[in-house]
Structures are given as C-alpha cells and as structure tokens.
C-alpha cells in the first residue's frame, strides 16, 4: 500500500506539471522573431561559449559533502537502535565520529573549507 502511494505521488506530480505545461503551450502565443530566442546577457548578443570552466572550489565542496552525507546515512540507523544497544553503541559512534572529525580537521588545516 505504501509503495503504491509513493508511485501515486510521483505520477500525480508528473501529470500535474505535464497537463499545465501542455495547456499553457496551447493557449500561450508564439513569437517568430529570432532575437527572442537568444539567451539573456544584458541585452547584447552573447559572447563565446556558455559552458565555461567554473571554480574548482565547487568540486571540492561536492567531495566533502559526499563524505559527510554518507556519514549521516550511517548515523540514522544508529540513532534508531542507540537506546536499546546502550553504552557500546555510544562508544562506537564516538570512535566513528572521531575518525571523520580528523578528516574534517585535515580539510580545515589544508584550507579546503576556505572559499577562494
């Protein structure tokens, strides 16, 4: 039942967006002027390619995010059973977080957390 409901919400969202865009495409006007299809850049024709190199800093933060997001995925099941398992679970998670904390400290020391 719940699995079906998940698919249901996906489908309703899909149909909602699809139908509204379809309706809008039917009733909205269409222009023929080629200038209208230019991407916006302060009113002048665009120069050069759009897909430029971008700051490597974004990439660095994406990697850091991946590490810590995986950590949180591990924390969720721990959080549910923590009370039943007791002190052992707590000590284990302290060790786990210490190792990750070392990683964060290393990134910090290397100025990976500073935006340049």
């Amino acid at each position: 039942m719940t699995n079906q409901a998940l698919i249901l919400f996906f489908l309703v969202g899909l149909i909602f967006v699809g139908v509204v865009i379809l309706f809008s495409g039917l009733v909205a006007p269409r222009s023929t002027s080629p200038q209208k299809f230019d991407p916006y850049e302060c009113g002048i024709p665009t120069k050069g390619t759009t897909w430029l190199q971008f700051n490597v800093g974004y990439y660095l933060f994406a990697i850091l995010f991946l590490i810590f997001d995986a950590e949180i995925v591990f924390l969720f099941p721990w959080a549910v059973v923590m009370k039943e398992v007791g002190m052992v679970a707590f000590i284990e998670i302290v060790v786990f977080i210490l190792i990750l904390g070392l990683g964060l400290a290393y990134a910090w020391k290397k100025h990976a957390l500073t935006w340049e």
Binding site: V12, S24, I97, L104
Partner: protein
C-alpha cells in the same frame, strides 16, 4: 458511524469499508488512491497560492507598505490573477539550450516537493504514507530538488543560469548536512524514524522542551539550514538579482517559471512542517502539566489547526529572516556551514546521545 475532527482514522476506515463493500478490492484501492492524489494536489495548490500571497503581505508589513490590495478583498486573489497571467505567457524556446533537460527541470522540482508533501502527518489518521523511515524519506525526496535546479542552470545556455545553479548546488548540498544532523539528534531522542510515532512520543511534552539544550541547538541549526536549503533570503545567492539576474531560472518563462516559484514556497512549507513534526509535537496540542483547565481548552482545538498553526508560525519566522538580514556572500555562507554548524552539530548529536543514555531528558 461516528466521526470526529480529533481523530480521522475512523473517517478513513469508513471510506475504505464502504468502498470495499460495493466493489472489488483492486478498484477500491484505485479509487482511494485517486481520492488521496486529488486531495493532496488541491492542498498543494492552495498552500502554494496562499504562501505567495502571505509572503507579499508579510514583506509589505516589514517594509511599511500595503502590499497587494486591488484584486479581491485585501488582494487575496492577487496570486490567482498572477497565475492566470503566467499561464498565457509564451514558453520561449532558448537557442542552443539542451531542450530535454530544459523541460525536464520543472518536473523534477515539482515532483520532489510533491512526494515530500504526501508523507507529512497533518493530523491523527490524516497521513497518506506513514513510512517506518519517514524522517529519512523526507530528507531524501526534499533534497531531490537540487537536481532540478542544477539541470535548469546547466541546460539554459546562459552564463547567469550556470553560475546561479553552481552556487545553488554548493549551498544546498552543504546545508543538507546540517538539516540531516539536526534530524539525527531528534531521532536519537525519539528512537524511531516513523513520523506518527515521533508525534505520539511528544504527547507529554514537545521534543524541543524534553530534549534540553541539545534539542534547542538542533532546532536553531535546522531552521537556519533549511532556510538556506530552500534557497531563501538571506541565503538566496543562487538568484541574487543584483548580480545574476534571476539565477538558475533566468531563461524560464511563463508557467515553467511559475513551477520553480511554486516549488520554492512549497519547500518552505515542507521544512516548516518537518520542524513542526519533530520539534513542536506535530498535531499535538500545547499542554502544561498540572494546568487542567488550560489543557482542556487547548485540547478543544482540532489537531490539523494545531499543525497548520505551528507550521504557519515557523513560515512567518523564515519570511522574517528574508526581510531582515542582508544577503550573505558565498564564502560567508560556506564558512557558516562547514566551520560552525557542522562541528557544533556533530558534538550536539553526541551530547544528545549521552543525555538519552543517562536518562537525563524529561
């Protein structure tokens, strides 16, 4: 059959039974699905329309203006008028844009917010999907929206869009860590991820009161991080209009733009609703131990009013942030997350675990 506005489970059970009595089980399930889908869709649209109006009124209040006041009494039909206008605006196809990804982006943004909306516990028995990993599910689907934002910026063939999408991606994924950690703090206290059980556990006190200071810290971090995650001011760098025109949705026109706009407001509702559920007792009324008369009066107010009221109050808080603080720079934004929120949050989770183990919470 006896119905009550305090417990919807008898009402839903009655619908289920009467449908099953008159037709085959498969058809009955299909019709129930249809009802749920339509009800949630209508609610979704009403929330979206109302929040856009509310934002403009709150903004006007903060800036000592009147806000929309021409269409309907107090301007309440302003967003409907805007919506009709946007429906009749041309959907401009951009030259050299990646057509498939360009049209796919609004779908992803809306579907992600819609799937999150379906899992919220609105009142007792008024809960479409009650997953045993509810908190985790909400975190997962609400962070799907960033894919849509990145696609929109990438596919637009516009430099502003690309920069906006990149900033937005860095910001959303960074602050998602804080949102997740704050939720882990509460899951430690509750010992379950099922939303209905989390709400039930707060019957004798909301988690923000029962969890001592760690719960309070978790709430503050959650509300700031989720403001950032929904791309709202003062964290709206991704659409900083003075530098990036409109950020990732610069090239979107008409109703496609409206979908991004709608999703932003719905996401605001969703984060406020999650905060209500895990910190402020969901649909539980506000009770003070020992004040019998006061508690009786509070219990008279129906649960969904409590839920919407608390959510509304938190939404007002998030709007208040936007109209009070100046926009952050991207280095300040990332420093705040990685050098302050993340370390504080990790230690906060450990302190909360210790409190739960030693039984120091109420």
């Amino acid at each position: 059959m006896e119905f009550s506005i305090y417990d919807f489970s008898s009402f839903t059970a009655w619908i289920d039974q009467s449908l099953r009595a008159s037709m085959s089980p498969g058809l009955a399930v299909a019709i129930e699905m249809l009802i749920i889908g339509v009800v949630i869709l209508i609610f979704y649209a009403i929330v979206g329309l109302f929040l856009v109006y509310a934002e403009r009124k709150v903004c006007a209040l903060m800036q000592n203006r009147l806000g929309p006041n021409r269409v309907g009494p107090g301007g309440i039909f302003q967003t409907i008028a805007d919506l009709v206008k946007l429906l009749f605006v041309e959907l401009v196809p951009i030259k050299n844009a990646d057509k498939i990804l360009f049209s796919l982006a609004p779908y992803i943004v809306i579907i992600a917010s819609f799937m999150a909306m379906g899992a919220l516990p609105f009142a007792k028995g008024l809960h479409a999907i009650d997953l045993n990993i509810g908190v985790f599910y909400l975190m997962a689907v609400s962070s799907m929206g960033v894919v849509g934002v990145l696609l929109a910026g990438w596919a637009s063939n516009n430099k502003y869009s690309l920069i906006g999408a990149m900033r937005s991606g860095a910001q959303i994924v960074s602050y998602e860590l804080s949102v997740g950690m704050s939720l882990v703090t509460i899951v430690v206290l509750a010992g379950t991820m099922q939303l209905s059980e989390i709400v039930q556990a707060q019957q004798y006190g909301w988690f923000i009161f029962r969890g001592h200071i760690p719960a309070l810290i978790a709430f503050v971090i959650f509300i700031v991080a989720s403001t950032a995650e929904t791309n709202r001011g003062p964290f709206d760098l991704a659409e900083a209009e003075s530098e990036l025109t409109a950020g990732f949705h610069t090239e979107y026109s008409g109703i496609r733009f409206a979908f991004f706009f709608l999703a932003e407001y719905i996401n605001m509702f969703i984060v406020a609703a999650i905060a209500t559920t895990v910190f402020f007792g969901g649909w539980m009324p506000f009770n003070v131990y020992g004040w019998e008369g006061f508690n009786k009066v509070m219990n008279l107010i129906p649960p969904f009013i409590w839920f919407l009221g608390k959510t509304g109050a938190l939404i007002f808080l998030i709007m208040w942030f936007k109209w009070t603080f100046p926009r952050l720079r991207i280095d300040q934004l990332l420093t705040l997350e990685w050098k302050y929120f993340l370390p504080i949050n990790i230690i906060n989770v450990l302190i909360m675990a210790l409190i739960v183990l030693l039984g120091w919470h109420w």
